[in-house]
């Protein structure tokens, strides 16, 4: 009697978790936009045997955005998942992997990210500020003012904007704009840039130095601007295969969309 087919893999089986971990590492390692994503749930798994010790695995994953920018060297295990009240962003990914003699490799991956619905947030937290569109005028003004403020005070490289990661606008009890954005060091010092900022270009990939800034602009009851930027130092670049679609993200080169 032919051997009974193996029982279908459960989504919480160790083999499924290993495949999901390989998929999430691939997704985070090959994206250059937004934030790192962490596994929240394995929605489905399907294994299609190809021969002895050779399987194709189809995974359906539910991910959640963390607070770590995608270019941050922080290991994913140390990245905090954004809480529901901070207006979480979910990633839905379909990943195809191959497992040969126990070694997993990603063959294809397609993801879509979307912020949680405002209604859901306000139901739980009526006063929580919501994510603003990244093209919001107040957001763009805040990012521009914050970057100018930082560059006017730093003694290091002149920084250029790479992309705005996320932003929120609160109107009550104070009018506050909070924005997070990714930056890159240029080939100018901040002093040189005062003469001709237009000539300052991002450092070439083999010397690149990326960083991340958080800014808080209080508009009412009194004007105040706080900026904090952290540069990561040079890291070994990874081939840019953008994966997670980033709705509304402003790129330094328009049209650089993601699949």
């Amino acid at each position: 009697v032919p051997a009974a087919p193996p029982a279908p893999l459960g989504c919480d089986d160790p083999e499924s978790e290993a495949a999901a971990e390989a998929a999430v590492n691939y997704i985070n390692g090959h994206s250059h936009h937004g934030y790192k994503f962490a596994l929240n749930r394995i929605e489905d798994i399907r294994v299609v045997p190809q021969g002895p010790n050779n399987d194709i695995i189809f995974l359906e994953l539910d991910l959640l955005e963390t607070k770590c920018p995608i270019l941050s060297p922080t290991p994913l295990a140390n990245c905090t998942v954004r809480s529901f009240a901070e207006h979480a962003v979910e990633g839905d990914c379909d990943v195809k992997l191959q497992r040969v003699d126990g070694t997993l490799s990603v063959l294809a991956s397609k993801c879509h990210s979307h912020a949680d619905s405002s209604e859901d947030i306000l139901k739980v937290c009526p006063d929580c500020p919501l994510l603003a569109s990244l093209n919001n005028t107040e957001v763009l003004e805040t990012v521009s003012a914050a970057l100018n403020d930082y560059n006017s005070k730093t003694t290091d490289s002149y920084l250029r904007l790479l992309e705005i990661g996320r932003a929120k606008v609160q109107y009550y009890p104070a009018h506050i704009v909070v924005a997070e954005f990714a930056v890159g060091a240029t080939n100018c010092s901040a002093e040189e840039a005062k003469a001709n900022a237009g000539a300052c270009q991002l450092l070439p990939e083999d010397q690149s130095n990326f960083g991340f800034c958080t800014s808080v602009m209080v508009k009412r009851p009194s004007q105040d601007l706080q900026v904090d930027c952290q540069l990561y130092g040079h890291q070994v670049p990874v081939p840019a295969i953008p994966l997670l679609s980033r709705p509304g993200v402003t790129y330094i080169h328009p049209g650089q969309d993601t699949s």
């Binding site: 459960g10 962490a38 394995i42 489905d44 529901f84």
Partner: protein, 38 residues
Amino acid sequence: SVTKRAVAGAAQHDKVPRPVGFVPRPPPCPGKIRHFDI
């Protein structure tokens, strides 16, 4: 030879008492939620 069992018979057959301590296997998917569901 394969014989088609009457539904009643099959139903009776399924009424076979389960061994003591039998824990039904949780549905294989979707898996557990690690953070929260949105």
